[in-house]
C-alpha cells in the first residue's frame, strides 16, 4: 500500500516535471524571434542615421521590426540608449537580455550601432536623487560598466556616447552642470573602454543646444560648455564629438549664430573643435531634426519638415566632410507620448510609415524630388 502510494507520487512528480519542462520549452520557442539572414543597407547617402527608442520596447518582434524599417529606410546608422540601471541593477550582476536583443538585431540588419550610456542604478547614487545624478565617487563604477559593455559587444558596438546633454541641470541629476566634472567622468571612463576594446570610438558631448544665460539654473550654453570641456582637458578623453542639431522653426540653411538655435549651430561647435586643435577628429549628430506638431511653437509644417530633413542629409554629405553620421530624433516610440514629441517620429507606434519616412526612403534610393 505504502509502496503504491510512493509510486503514484513519483508518477505525479515526473508528470509535473515533464509538463513544466514542456511549458518552458513552448515559451522559449514562442518568445524566440529569429534574427533572419544577414542584411546590408542600400543608400546613396551613407551618413543617414536614426535615433531609435527601443529602451522600453518589451517585445522582441517590435525591436526587430523597428531595426528592419531603419534598414529599409536606407539609414546605415542607428543610435540607441542602454540605461546602466536596467543592465546592472545590482553591483556586478548584469541582465543583458534586452541589450542583447537590440545589439543582435541591429547587427543582423547591417546597421552601425552607436550606444548611448547613462542612467544610474540606485546603488550608485544617494537616496532621493534622480537616475541622472552621478557623483564623482561613482564615476569609476560607471566607467567599469562601460568597459564591461564594450567588451561584451566587441565587434558589434564600435561607438559609445558617454552621457546625454550634461549641460542641462535636468540631465545632470538637477546638480549644476559642470564641464569640469563631465570631463572628469570622461577621464575616468575613456581609459577603461580603451583597455577593454581599443577600437571603440568614444563619443563625448551630446550637448543640448541651448541659449541659457550665464548663471541659469536650467543649464549652460552648449558653445560655452564645450569650450569649458576643452579648458578642463577633455580633448584627450574622447574620439568623436556628439552633437545635437535641432532646427526648431528655422530652415537648415539658416546661418549659424551663437544667439540662435538652428541646424547650422553644428558649425559653431565644429569651429570650437578646430580652435582647440581637434580638427582631425570627426563629429556625429546623434540627435536632431524638425517637428511638425500643429501647435508647438518650435514646429514647422509637415511639408517643411520633409524638405528640411532631406536638405539636412544633403548638407551632411556635401558640405560637412568632418561629420560621419546624421542621426535624427526619433524613429518611433513604443507608445504614443501624446505630446509634441509624437511629431518627431518617422513611423507611428503601430509601424505605419509617415510620409516623411517614405520621402527619406525615396531620397536614400536616389529618387529625384
Amino acid at each position: 500500500m505504502l509502496r503504491n502510494r510512493r509510486r503514484l507520487l513519483l508518477v505525479i512528480f515526473v508528470a509535473l516535471a515533464v509538463m513544466l519542462i514542456g511549458v518552458w520549452a513552448l515559451r522559449q520557442s514562442l518568445s524566440h524571434v529569429p534574427l533572419g539572414p544577414q542584411q546590408t543597407v542600400h543608400t546613396i547617402n551613407p551618413k543617414i542615421g536614426m535615433h531609435t527608442r527601443l529602451t522600453d520596447e518589451v517585445e522582441e518582434q517590435k525591436i526587430k521590426r523597428s531595426l528592419e524599417m531603419v534598414r529599409e529606410l536606407g539609414a546605415p546608422w542607428v543610435v540607441e540608449y542602454f540605461p546602466w540601471a536596467y543592465i546592472e541593477g545590482e553591483p556586478g550582476h548584469y541582465n543583458w537580455v534586452h541589450a542583447d536583443q537590440v545589439v543582435e538585431h541591429a547587427s543582423r540588419q547591417g546597421l552601425t550601432l552607436i550606444a548611448r550610456l547613462g542612467f544610474v542604478p540606485e546603488w550608485a547614487r544617494p537616496k532621493d536623487t534622480t537616475p541622472l545624478y552621478l557623483d564623482e565617487e561613482h564615476f569609476v563604477d560607471f566607467a567599469k560598466f562601460a568597459a564591461v559593455f564594450v567588451e561584451r559587444y566587441r565587434g558589434k558596438v564600435k561607438h559609445v556616447i558617454i552621457w546625454n546633454e550634461p549641460n542641462l541641470a535636468l540631465e545632470w541629476g538637477y546638480a549644476p552642470p559642470d564641464a569640469g566634472k563631465y570631463t572628469a567622468l570622461l577621464r575616468a571612463t575613456y581609459p577603461l573602454i580603451k583597455a577593454a576594446a581599443p577600437e571603440v570610438q568614444v563619443l563625448a558631448g551630446a550637448l543640448a543646444p541651448t541659449l541659457a544665460p550665464p548663471g541659469s539654473e536650467f543649464g549652460v550654453d552648449d558653445l560655452v560648455f564645450l569650450q569649458q570641456m576643452y579648458d578642463a582637458g577633455a580633448a584627450a578623453y574622447f574620439d568623436v564629438l556628439a552633437i545635437h542639431a535641432y532646427g526648431w522653426h528655422f530652415d537648415p540653411d539658416s546661418p549659424p549664430d551663437p544667439a540662435v538655435v538652428n541646424f547650422r549651430r553644428t558649425e559653431l561647435l565644429r569651429a570650437i573643435m578646430v580652435e582647440n586643435g581637434d580638427a582631425a577628429k570627426a563629429a556625429m549628430i546623434t540627435e536632431g531634426g524638425w517637428n511638425d506638431h500643429p501647435r508647438w511653437t518650435r514646429a514647422v509644417r509637415p511639408a517643411q519638415r520633409i524638405t528640411y530633413t532631406l536638405r539636412a542629409y544633403d548638407i551632411a554629405q556635401q558640405e560637412w566632410p568632418w561629420l560621419d553620421a546624421l542621426c535624427l530624433w526619433v524613429f518611433r516610440f513604443p507608445w504614443d507620448q501624446n505630446s509634441y514629441q509624437d511629431y518627431f517620429t518617422f513611423v507611428r507606434t503601430d509601424f505605419e510609415p509617415k510620409p516623411i519616412y517614405t520621402e527619406v526612403q525615396r531620397y536614400a534610393q536616389g529618387a529625384t524630388p
Binding site: D292, P294, R295, W296, T297, R301, P302, A303, Q304, R305, I306, W335, D336, N338, S339, Y340, E352, P353, K354, P355, I356, T358, E359
Partner: protein, 278 residues
C-alpha cells in the same frame, strides 16, 4: 440591551468604522465607488466656494484659443468655458499656459479643468476624467459643393489632394497600399490644398483635417464634408480624476447647451454655419 451587549455593539461599530476608514485610506478610488457616501468631489466644492472655474488653455491654436490685440484669450474654447460656467452661476477664470504643461497643472491643482482643443487619450483615464467629445478635428473627405462624390469608395480613380506630409497624406498612401486606385496630389500648405479644390479644380476631393475644413467653410468657400471621418480626433474637456461631480455637471451642461442651440451657435461664431453634410 445589557451592558455587555452595548459593549459588543460599540466594539463592532468601531471595528467597522476602522475597516472602512483604512480601506478608504488604502484604496480611495475603489472605496468611493463601492461606498458612494464616502465620495467627495473637492474640485466641484471648491469651484462653488470660489465662485470661479479655473480653466487651463494654451492660447496658440486659433480659432479654438488665441490672444487678441489686447492680450486677452479668445476663441471657441474660451466661449465654451464661459457658457458652461454660466450654467453653474460661476465665472470662468482663464489660465494660459503651454500645451504640454496643462496635464501637470491639472494634477497639481493649479487649474480645475483643461478646455484647450485637447484630444481624448484613453491612456490617461487613470489620471483624469474626460467629458464627451464636443468637436472632432479628425480627417475628412471634402469636395466641392456640387460634387457627386459621396463615399470613400467614390474616390476610386479620382484626383485626390493632400497636404504633403500630413495625416491626410499618410492615410491617402495607406489607401493606395490597400489597393484603392486614387491619384494623390500633394500641396505644401492647407491653403494651397483648399485652393486646388475650389479655385483651380486641380483635384476632385481633398483629405483634410476638420479644423482646416471648417476654417475654409468659415471663409465662405463652397466645399463640404462627405462620409464619416477617416480618422477621429475628438476634443474633450479634461478634469481631475476625483472630480466626479464636476464630470456630471459638465455632461449635463454640455447637453443643455446643445439643446438650447448654443453649441451650434458657438461653432457658427468661430467657423461659420456648416453646409449640410451627406
Amino acid at each position: 440591551m445589557s451592558r455587555r451587549q452595548q459593549l459588543w455593539a460599540a466594539t463592532g461599530a468601531v471595528v467597522v468604522a476602522g475597516v472602512i476608514g483604512l480601506a478608504w485610506l488604502a484604496f480611495p478610488e475603489q472605496s468611493a465607488s463601492l461606498l458612494p457616501f464616502l465620495r467627495r468631489d473637492y474640485t466641484w466644492q471648491t469651484i462653488q466656494q470660489r465662485g470661479a472655474w479655473r480653466v487651463g488653455l494654451d492660447p496658440s491654436f486659433p480659432p479654438f484659443e488665441h490672444l487678441d490685440a489686447a492680450g486677452a484669450a479668445v476663441g471657441y474654447d474660451v466661449d465654451l468655458a464661459h457658457a458652461l460656467a454660466a450654467t453653474w452661476d460661476v465665472r470662468a477664470e482663464i489660465v494660459a499656459m503651454g500645451f504640454d504643461s496643462l496635464p501637470d497643472a491639472l494634477k497639481a491643482g493649479k487649474i480645475d479643468s483643461i478646455v484647450s482643443a485637447y484630444p481624448y487619450d484613453d491612456r490617461l483615464t487613470q489620471d483624469f476624467r474626460f467629458s464627451a467629445p464636443y468637436f472632432d478635428a479628425g480627417l475628412r473627405i471634402a469636395v466641392p459643393a456640387a460634387s457627386s462624390i459621396r463615399t470613400l469608395t467614390d474616390l476610386t480613380g479620382r484626383q485626390v489632394g493632400v497636404e504633403w506630409g500630413s495625416m491626410g497624406d499618410m492615410i491617402g498612401r495607406r489607401l493606395q497600399r490597400e489597393g484603392m486606385t486614387l491619384a494623390l496630389r500633394a500641396f505644401e500648405t492647407p491653403d494651397a490644398l483648399v485652393a486646388a479644390l475650389v479655385d483651380d479644380q486641380q483635384v476632385e476631393a481633398i483629405l483634410v483635417d476638420n479644423v482646416s475644413l471648417r476654417q475654409a467653410q468659415a471663409a465662405g468657400l463652397p466645399l463640404r464634408a462627405v462620409a464619416d471621418p477617416l480618422e477621429s480626433v475628438p476634443y474633450v474637456i479634461v478634469m481631475p480624476h476625483q472630480a466626479t461631480d464636476l464630470q456630471d455637471k459638465v455632461a449635463i451642461s454640455l447637453q443643455l447647451l446643445k439643446e438650447r442651440g448654443e453649441m451650434a451657435a458657438l461653432e457658427a461664431r468661430w467657423f461659420g454655419k456648416p453646409p449640410t453634410e451627406e
